[in-house]
Amino acid sequence: MIFYILRRIVATIPVMGVVALLVFSLLYLAPGDPAVIIAGESASTEQLEKMRKDMGLDQPLPVQFAKWIGKVATGDLGTSLHSGKKVSEMIGARVGPTLSLATVTILLSLILAIPMGILAAWARGRWLDRSLMSIAVLGFSTPVFVVGYVLIFLFSVKAGWFPVQGFTPISENPLRFLRTVTLPAFTLSLAYVALVSRITRSSLLEMLGEDFIRTARAKGASERRVLLRHALRNAAVPILTVAGSAAAFLIGGVVVTESVFNLPGMGRLVVESVLARDYPLIQGLILLLSLVYIGINLLTDILYSVFDPRIRY
């Protein structure tokens, strides 16, 4: 098991290398001279020359890459062109709300979706199954911003249970944190609840057709035992696969939700940096998001082997 985990971790190193190379190339793949992009169209020839020298742009690409990697490894992601602040600090200030929102969303999705899927599989073909799956379709097909505004209107403006916008870190006040994060997380989770509950239902139903389920019934097992003890753990791998991809896609959905609920998170920073063509900031953000993706994949792989003892690559 430990060997397996170590091997999976080692296997991520080449992936990270490729990601770093792609992120580094970003500056050179964009049309035009990097120095012009950084300094702006109005810079004079001398200014550009000085810039090339300062930034090491006159050196061979492999040397530049090595230096850049060296800096990144020590946490130095460069300076934002727009604000002049350090990229690492800018990202650091925004990472909290996004991480909290994503984590709460994933937890909420699983907590809601898996029981829904189990119930639907248990009641297959009956009204409970059909209504749960209709809710899932609805959750899947309603845009995040519509749900967000409707929820704000109902629960914040009318009922006053939750703040309309803003964010409180969990370290500051856990209760306030929950109040600020609940609505956005719920909004964001709807699509994933739909996705994960459908997958839970269908993989459970598939498992229920397997021979070992018949064996369990022949032992005298109740339907509940058959579902929870025998079918569910075997269905874990497809559920995990979908939940893992969902967690990765989630980062994309965060952008809209952060705007609707006015959360100072990374999603909005991404939009801002792209609009301002702030290359060092874009590089830093992509690098961080890629690491998160790689981490999620690694975690999914390791969880596979926890749920299914046959999986040891």
Partner: protein, 548 residues
């Protein structure tokens, strides 16, 4: 049956049982039988006879979305199972009636440890505490002769062999000492030697516990060895029922007689003179698989260096148990998997010396027929396209293809009008004929049959064997016939090689090897064949010939 046996109590009594699809179509109609304590009743029948549906109906494990009992009664020690509530049924299962299944590879939960799964039976039926349950499971593992019970207890199913898993399933089924054991083809998926052990184990435990056994099988060899009484089923109805020896020697129904006559004899056919030239010569062929990765890299030699020679018009049998390397040998020769070492000569020319284009062309000379005719054809293609595909790949003219398709489908005993059908419209035997026609389409000099008759009912198996003999005589095609069934090998093969653990242990003429085996393992294999001294065809005809 003796008078004493007649006095034993009836454990299971089935009266006029009918099981229907929701559409109303009857799958099993008006079945009646009973099983007494300590007795074994074998239900025999071909696929589609309703024998498995009957057994699942008794356990009340029918897929309720598709099937339900519509008439009759099933009484287990007087309790009508069709009227019992689902809670009552749960209490009866495993405690009073148990079941073991055909496929030990999939019958256990793959993600839970073996010991926990067997303990679950005791847990459900509220027997003892954790320590007590554990001790009982370990004791049961000893009873079913599992090696190293502690290790098995902590193992996952994929870490055990098929025979070991079946022992676990038997332990699970008998741990509460049920009155009735239903065994649904429990040895069909196992090797003959394992089969013999499992059959021995079941009857040993049956004797000890006085269990009534309802045994479902299609194999008359098994029936001969274990049945007290036999119930023959066909198309959902009882054909006849009686004492084992009566049915096997003097059946009253024609259907039973035909079935019994179709069981191939273990007495080999007389040797033929083989005058043809060598078509296929294999020298030092080996296959090594690399498994795992650093730091737990392991090698597995599926096939140690092996030689063989196949002549024109010869049928060479390759026999052995699962894992003996016989399928690996076939696949390496057909170049479906690359061999690690070795030379293949086709009509004297080494394939390795050919250019890659010529290698591809040489594929037409070696064609293969697979075990399972249900899964080896593309279900979206018409039979015409299935047979024609190879010819299209090798650039035959359209008119020629059409002519050959008509010819081939007749050569395998079907009508040209069937060419426009799809595979699902055929029976298993018809599908295997199409697979053979497809393989013959490229006029191969070597036909490899990998367990090509193993998935077929005996009556169909008999027809396919005759077809292969006929094709050999008419076309002079050489056949490499992979099988685990020594009876089939005896009726079909000129020469036989016996394989074990990737090595050839014995080679020679079929007549020689099957009547006078020199190697200990070959003898062991032959001894394990159920009812080996029983020549069904001769015994049943009334004139009981001395075949021993």
């Amino acid at each position: 049956m003796t008078n004493e046996a007649n006095q034993r109590e009836v454990v299971l009594q089935v009266d006029g049982l009918t099981v229907s699809l929701h559409s109303g179509r009857e799958i099993v109609s008006d079945i009646s039988f009973n099983v007494r304590a300590g007795e074994t009743l074998c239900i025999v029948g071909e696929s589609g006879s309703g024998k498995s549906v009957t057994s699942f109906a008794v356990m009340q494990l029918l897929d309720s979305a598709a099937l339900r009992p519509t008439a009759g009664s099933i009484r287990l020690e007087g309790v009508d199972l069709l009227k019992a509530s689902s809670q009552e049924l749960r209490q009866l299962r495993a405690a009073r009636m148990s079941m073991i299944f055909q496929e030990p590879m999939t019958a256990l939960n793959p993600v839970e440890r073996i010991g926990k799964q067997v303990m679950e039976v005791l847990e459900i039926h509220r027997e003892g505490d954790h320590a007590g349950r554990r001790a009982r499971v370990l004791e049961m593992f000893q009873m079913v002769k599992l090696p190293d019970p502690e290790r098995v207890f902590n193992a996952y199913p994929h870490e055990l062999s098929g025979g070991q898993r079946q022992r676990v399933v038997i332990a699970m089924a008998l741990i509460l000492r049920p009155r009735l054991l239903i065994a649904d083809e429990p040895t069909t998926a196992l090797d003959v030697t394992t089969q013999a052990q499992i059959l021995g184990l079941i009857s040993e435990l049956q004797k000890e516990m006085g269990t009534a056994v309802l045994f479902i099988t299609h194999d008359f060899g098994v029936v001969h060895d274990i049945a007290d009484r036999i119930l023959v089923m066909n198309k959902g109805r009882v054909v006849e029922e009686g004492k084992s020896t009566d049915i096997l020697t003097s059946p009253t129904a024609d259907y039973t007689r035909r079935l019994i006559c179709a069981v191939p004899s273990l007495v080999p056919v007389p040797s033929r003179e083989l005058s043809g030239e060598g078509v296929l010569e294999v020298k030092g062929m080996a296959k090594r698989y690399v498994m795992g990765s650093f730091p737990r890299k392991r090698y597995f030699d599926a096939l140690h260096p092996t030689d063989l020679l196949l002549r024109e018009g010869e049928i060479l049998g390759v026999v052995g148990e699962s894992g003996s390397g016989k399928t690996t040998l076939a696949r390496c020769i057909a170049r479906l998997v690359p061999a690690s070492e070795g030379v293949v000569r086709l009509k004297g020319a080494s394939i390795d010396d050919l250019s890659s284009a010529d290698k591809r062309r040489s594929r037409k000379h070696v064609q293969i027929v697979f075990q399972d005719p249900y899964r080896s054809m593309n279900s979206r293609l018409k039979l015409r396209d299935i047979i024609a595909e190879g010819m299209v790949n090798f650039g035959y003219a359209p008119a020629e293809i059409e002519r050959r398709c008509n010819e081939l489908i007749q050569a395998v005993g079907l009508q040209p009008s069937m060419l426009d059908r799809y595979p699902h419209q055929l029976s298993g035997g018809q599908r295997q004929r199409i697979c053979i026609a497809r393989a013959l389409a490229l006029e191969p000099s070597v036909l490899i049959c990998d367990e090509a008759v193993s998935a077929l009912d005996v009556s169909v198996q008999e027809q396919v064997i005759e077809l292969l003999l006929d094709l050999r005589d008419r076309l002079g095609v050489a056949i490499l016939f992979i099988t685990h069934d020594l009876r089939v090998a005896a009726q079909l093969c000129d020469n036989v090689i016996v394989m074990r653990n990737g090595r050839v242990v014995e080679a020679g003429s079929a007549a020689d090897i099957l009547t006078n085996p020199r190697d200990e393992y070959t003898r062991f294999l032959i001894d394990a064949v159920p009812a080996r001294e029983w020549n069904f065809r001769e015994r049943v005809s009334g004139t009981v010939a001395a075949s021993q």
